[in-house]
């Protein structure tokens, strides 16, 4: 028998282990049961309420710090995106200039 025939023989599909589908469905169900992430405004509302209960100024600062972190990250991403775009455009320009020389 040729190797190819042996390989087809050895690599035939086998049944999945018993109960496999049930275990998959159980994982799907447990993923659905996990609490979903709240919309961002709920997180902020919860923070403000907590601040009211604790009577502190800290919550306001916490929201501002979070917004600052988000803004700084967006700023970094803008700079990165423009750097990548600029590099590719510059490469294209060099290619065109090389041809038209």
């Amino acid at each position: 028998m040729s190797l190819e025939t042996d390989l087809k023989d050895a690599l035939r599909r086998v049944p999945a282990p018993e109960g496999f589908a049930n275990r998959v469905l159980e994982r799907v169900r447990s993923e659905e049961r996990r609490p979903t992430r709240s919309p961002w405004w709920r997180a902020i509302a919860a923070t403000v309420l907590l601040a009211a209960i604790l009577g502190g100024w800290g919550a306001h600062e916490m929201i501002e710090r979070r917004q600052e972190r988000k803004g700084q990250r967006a700023r970094e991403q803008v700079l990165l995106a423009l750097r990548i775009t600029g590099e590719k455009v510059a490469h294209a320009q060099r290619g065109v200039r090389h041809i038209t020389r």
């Binding site: 917004q67 600052e68 988000k70 803004g71 700084q72 967006a74 700023r75 991403q77 803008v78 700079l79 990165l80 995106a81 423009l82 750097r83 990548i84 775009t85 600029g86 590099e87 590719k88 455009v89 510059a90 490469h91 294209a92 320009q93 060099r94 290619g95 065109v96 200039r97």
Partner: protein, 177 residues
Amino acid sequence: MRRFIVFGLLIFTAAALQAQRIQIDLPPSLAAKASESVDVTLDGALLRLAAKFLGDNGDERIARDMISRLEGIYVKSYEFDEDGAYDRAILDNIRKQIGPSWKRLVLVKSRDRENVEIYADMRGENVAGLLVLASEPRELTIVNLVGPVDLEKLANLEGHFGIPRVTKHSKRERDND
């Protein structure tokens, strides 16, 4: 009646000027295969937030000007350790989305180095979006800028944002930066 005609014209114009976002759908395993990857997704709200954090001088001022009217910036860039790690059909799928208003500005092809294509979404004389496709054996980069793009400013970014200045600009051009 006139009011309806004007309203209709406004809607038509708004729709005509509405920039087209290109869907950059890449297989999730591509990022897993890459030795380095960049994934930037900035919609209008995040761009406005970023603008508040960009400085008033140098590169950051240029960046703030460039993004001031953009509606979105989307970048996916991957580097791989070996040739042929991605399917070039990915680029065909992106090109299929290019509508009739898009015009190819540049095509640079090289057998063993980087190929770059640049498309602009033209609405009359205005640029409503930009698409850059850059591919080499071990790197794939796709950039989509959605909204009005200043092509001249984009073309003059050498020497900024860490982009090496290789093209010889006149002193006057450099002084104007």
